[in-house]
């Protein structure tokens, strides 16, 4: 019966370790989910290494406030001649495609599809593009006061921060033109965000407000596979 004792001891150690893990794990998760405050900031490195890396979670569902606005991604392919005209006359007014509305319509017709997730993917790209890190506010403020160096720094930093979102949005646009079979005829894509702001609660019967924000002109990404999302669309 001697062999039973070490086995029993090992089992007890494993049981105690499991309990310690449980307690430590949920303590870290609680700290990770709390707003920034001194105790949390003190162990931020540990939180990023543990929960942030292997148990990443964010439960701000429609919080702190629901977005409410509808953000649609509009794209306009440009060939070399049109790109040259953009420098002189600005972006063309015609042949803009709304890449979000077909996804919303598809999802309204059939809830058991990937359309909602696809439109959320676009939305996250757009919001990531528009989001400015708090660290950049000082440069922006200094730029507004007329300091050209601050403006240059602010612009360069914004470009760096927006790069991942820009790549994603350009890829969406490029896949759209691949679906239309036009990708080879185009060299650039212009991106535009159309925000439809619903009226506030007190004026809920009123018409929504439309705001267009141009996100820039970028080289089309060649070699993108067809998304398959817009195969029924027609070039106009």
């Amino acid at each position: 019966m001697q062999w039973r004792d070490p086995r029993h001891a090992l089992s007890s150690v494993a049981k105690a370790a499991a309990l310690c893990w449980l307690a430590g794990h949920f303590l870290l998760i609680t700290l990770y989910l709390l707003p920034p405050w001194p105790p949390r900031q003190a162990v931020r490195g540990l939180l990023d290494l543990t929960v942030g890396r292997h148990f990443e979670q964010n439960w701000s569902l429609f919080a702190p406030d629901p977005i409410g606005s509808n953000f649609a991604l509009l794209v306009r392919g440009l060939d070399a001649a049109e790109l040259a005209a953009v420098a002189r006359e600005g972006l063309p007014a015609d042949r803009w495609y709304d890449l979000s509305a077909p996804l919303w319509d598809g999802f309204a017709q059939n809830r058991l599809t990937a359309y909602e997730r696809m439109s959320s993917l676009q939305l996250r790209g757009v919001l990531a593009y528009l989001q400015e890190e708090p660290a950049e506010w000082a440069w922006a403020e200094s730029c507004r006061r007329g300091d050209p160096t601050s403006c240059a720094l602010h612009a360069a930093e914004l470009e760096r921060l927006r790069l991942p979102a820009t790549i994603q949005l350009v890829r969406f646009a490029s896949a759209f033109y691949a679906d239309l079979g036009l990708a080879d005829q185009l060299s650039y894509v212009a991106l535009r965000l159309r925000e439809t702001r619903p009226p506030p609660w007190s004026e809920r019967g009123a018409a929504p407000e439309l705001v267009d924000i141009d996100l820039g002109v970028y080289p089309i990404e060649r070699g993108m596979p067809r998304s398959g999302l817009y195969v029924g669309e027609r070039a106009n």
Binding site: K15, A18, I29, R53, A114, R171, P225
Partner: protein, 325 residues
């Protein structure tokens, strides 16, 4: 969490309601709760079925777009190096280099999902679902929603529960680990609700009772009927405050006598979210997490009640035969 399928004599029925002599009594009750018998076995199966169903739906929905989303020239450019390190991550990243391997990941995910639904080799099925799921998430993190996060975390804890139908010895390490995983799933679910509720407290629209109106304005989510209904002051105020109260009180309600009513409301809440907002996969996972909190004894009682009703219905339908001669 309380109850067990086969409680040994003298075992505490409920950890929360354990009455003992002070701290020593509570520790003893906790030890017996963790060691005597596997808890929430039916709730674990309900959660496995819910996650399996959700994953299978995801595979069916995403398969036509797999190359576009995760393929070598697709939208995603993420890497496993962030979680596995440069060396191992560099090797694992080869899986993203061809469309064939991306489809193989989806195939593996589908096999794992079916295993979870059917209860066939559930430990292996959990692993078969978790690995490709995590790899696809790393490739395109922006495609992940809250339902995916909840499912991934639940799958991690489910790795340690007993396989479906297992009969381990009372007091064994396997039983202990199963019950620790059960507590982890329960705490994670409570964390989801509490964190969601607390985050809403920072928003003015939840506090002034108009949040549901603003949620309904999101064209990507809301059903046209929901848009109209949410313009009614009573509807939007009740929906906003009820959501806030439900989420904030969930961790307390689930360890109180309100547990079963709270679960029932949670099921209705998530059916409504699935139907009106179309967040079907998220709702399926959350319904699984709600059903996880029903104890084995309550499932057994429900089963007996349903069987009794079924027999009674059959008896009423059976036509009266000819009488004795």
């Amino acid at each position: 969490l309380s109850g067990a399928a086969r409680l040994p004599r003298g075992a505490p029925e409920s950890l929360v309601n354990a009455r003992g002599a002070g701290a020593a009594g509570l520790v003893g009750a906790a030890q017996r709760w963790l060691g005597d018998a596997p808890r929430q076995t039916t709730g674990v199966r309900a959660l496995q079925i819910a996650i399996g169903t959700m994953l299978f739906l995801r595979v069916c929905n995403d398969a036509p777009f797999a190359s576009f989303l995760w393929g070598p020239h697709g939208l995603g450019w993420g890497s496993t190096r962030t979680i596995l390190g440069a060396t191992l991550g560099g090797v694992v990243d080869h899986v993203y280099e061809s469309d064939v391997s991306v489809y193989a990941l989806l195939g593996c995910l589908a096999v794992g999902a079916v295993g979870l639904i059917l209860g066939y080799r559930t430990s292996l099925a959990t692993l078969a679902a978790l690995v490709p799921y995590a790899l696809l998430e790393q490739r395109l993190p922006q495609y992940v929603d809250r339902g995916d996060s909840a499912a991934r975390l639940a799958l991690l804890y489910l790795l340690f529960v007993l396989p479906s139908g297992a009969r381990p010895a009372p007091g064994s390490l396997a039983v202990w680990l199963h019950n620790v995983a059960v507590v982890a799933i329960g705490l994670q679910a409570a964390t989801i609700y509490a964190a969601a509720g607390l985050a809403k407290l920072a928003g003015s629209r939840w506090l002034d009772g108009t949040a549901i109106y603003h949620v309904a304005q999101v064209a990507a989510l809301s059903h046209p009927a929901f848009v109209e209904v949410a313009r009614q002051p009573l509807v939007t105020a009740f929906g906003s405050y009820a959501t806030l109260v439900y989420e904030l009180l969930f961790p307390l309600a689930i360890i109180s006598p309100l547990r079963l009513p709270w679960i029932a409301v949670g099921l209705l809440f998530h059916v409504a979210i699935g139907g009106l907002m179309g967040l079907v996969t998220f709702s399926i996972v959350m319904i699984g997490l709600d059903l996880f909190f029903v104890t084995d004894r309550e499932y057994a009682q429900l089963g007996r009640w349903a069987a009794g009703r079924w027999r009674a219905a059959l008896g009423q339908r059976r036509p009266a035969g000819p009488g004795p001669p």
